[in-house]
Amino acid sequence: MADHRRRVAVVGVGQLPFRSRHPDRQFYELAYDAGRLALDDAGISVDDVDTMFHSIYCEPMMRQQIADNYVQDYLGLADKEGIRVAAGASTGGHAFRAAYAEVMSGLSDVVLLVGVQKSTDVVDPVTGDRGDGMMLAQGLSCDMTWCHPFTVLPPAMWAFIVQQHMERWGTTVEQIAMAAVKAHDNALTNPYAQLRYPLTVEQVLNSRLIAWPHTMYMCCLYGEGACGIVLMSEERARELTDKPVWVAGAAAVSGTTRLERPPELEGRIPAVGAAADIAYERAGITDPEDAFDVVELHDITSGIELVTYEELRLCKPGESGRLIDEGAVMKSGRIPVNPSGGRVACGHIAGVSEVYSIGEVALQLREQAAERQVNVTRGRGVIETMGSGIASQAAVIVLEREEAA
């Protein structure tokens, strides 16, 4: 069969700062802001867009179902094609994978992908607390029969994975705390980060215990915002830029929603591993330990970050603690992970964070990441997004420059 697949470029990046709340903008207004920034960055107008993709996770948080319909109209794209994708905190990764296939297939030449989520207009009915209201709203992503009656907090639901990692390989709470410290150090140079203050290992360990081993500072922030990306066919991209960032490969996986797992999968996140293997095969990556200048991954908790190094094949199973100890994942290290500050310090809201991470790696490869710029030698970066009931939906995306080694 003839291979008609086309090269796809990321040409426009639009980011808004992560904030606990953007009370002065409604969801479609935030989407408008981010979409405009992405179109401006690409150097095109809204009329150039063939199809819009929507990365929108959660209706109860937003107080609006089919939010994509309202967003697309407000952006001036009524009566053009528009498709929404939702997949927990992998929503943006899954949506990007769909948008990439859209351009690759030739159905569209120019796609605008916007992730948006309002999340702190919802309040806890007892206390009025917005963070708890948000947790209750996103809780409908849990298995409603078998999990939701017990908790709605990912740091609690996913703690068993981290505990198994600690039991199986001797990973320590100090190593997990070191990942949180790294996140906060990196966020210091990111003007879009929600928390910008340094922490020590002791401060992380002594912060409020949420669900063992996860303390407050090891858990992702929740906030709201919007981010946009413009994807283009090679032909259109070359008209606009001589430095396109190419999509080398992408995969979006739906994993098991059951808890039981064989011994060899204890302390692991199989959906992430599967997404990495598929994406790397598509990208022709054979040695992921030495393939990337930058990694932006979903540290929903800092414990989950360590497990994710292994699922992204940045090291062998059980070796993530060593990667932290050696400093390999620091901004100046061999494999910089989350120079943005990641979900723990930069900020998190499903649907938006993932699009942010993709844009962040594109900016790094364009060497436009200002103070958080890493050293680009290989010309390639990877994004991982993960979420849902039992860490069970994940996407992995590989971006590279023209001259990637």
């Binding site: 009370p23 002065d24 107080r63 207009d121 806890d124 009915p125 007892v126 206390t127 607390d129 708890d132 209201g133 947790m135 209750l136 809780g139 029969t145 078998w146 999990c147 009656p149 017990f150 908790t151 709605v152 907090l153 609690a156 639901m157 703690a159 068993f160 505990q163 198994q164 039991e167 409020r208 215990l209 949420i210 669900a211 063992w212 059951r258 808890l259 039981e260 797992r261």
Partner: protein, 153 residues
């Protein structure tokens, strides 16, 4: 920050939710205070949470009784739960979010583990536990909780 105006909006949904093909599990739980599991005659897997259909074998499962004793797979000591969450009607915070393997099953089940002392990580993997069925049951996984009967070494 520019000006904004906000107003309250309250909207409540209620469900009368059907458990479909696994209704028997919840009927046995509510009416007889006992566990039944789904058993696949093809692969031999016995599961709680049960399934009506075994996708791999393309077989309908059968119901089999299973004991109310179990082994702890993990015990997560939880120190936060939003005030509006219904679990507050059942337990005090902190509480133990357990994953247990019911005896004679091949599956893991999320469940409450209740222990008086609440000394961090005192309940751990390998501990033996037994289900206590609440007097008031409505056919939900919060109708029961586990208590320790034997600590692992």
């Amino acid at each position: 920050m520019s000006e904004f105006f906000e107003a309250p909006y309250k909207y409540t949904l209620e469900y009368a939710y059907s458990y479909g093909g696994i209704s028997r599990f919840f009927a046995e739980l509510r009416d007889n205070a006992r566990f039944v599991a789904s058993h696949c005659p093809g692969c031999g897997k016995t599961l709680v949470p049960p399934v009506a259909d075994c996708a791999g074998c393309r077989r309908e499962t059968e119901w089999v009784p299973v004991p109310s004793t179990a082994t702890v797979v993990s015990a997560t000591y939880c120190y936060h739960l939003p005030a509006g969450h219904p679990l507050h009607q059942k337990v005090d915070i902190p509480y133990i979010l357990g994953i247990v393997q019911l005896d004679e099953t091949d599956s893991w089940l999320m469940a409450l583990i209740v222990e008086e002392d609440m000394i961090l990580n005192n309940v751990k993997r390998g501990d033996r536990v037994e289900a206590v069925f609440r007097a008031e049951r409505e056919g939900k996984v919060t109708d029961f909780y586990f208590v320790p009967i034997e600590q692992s070494k």
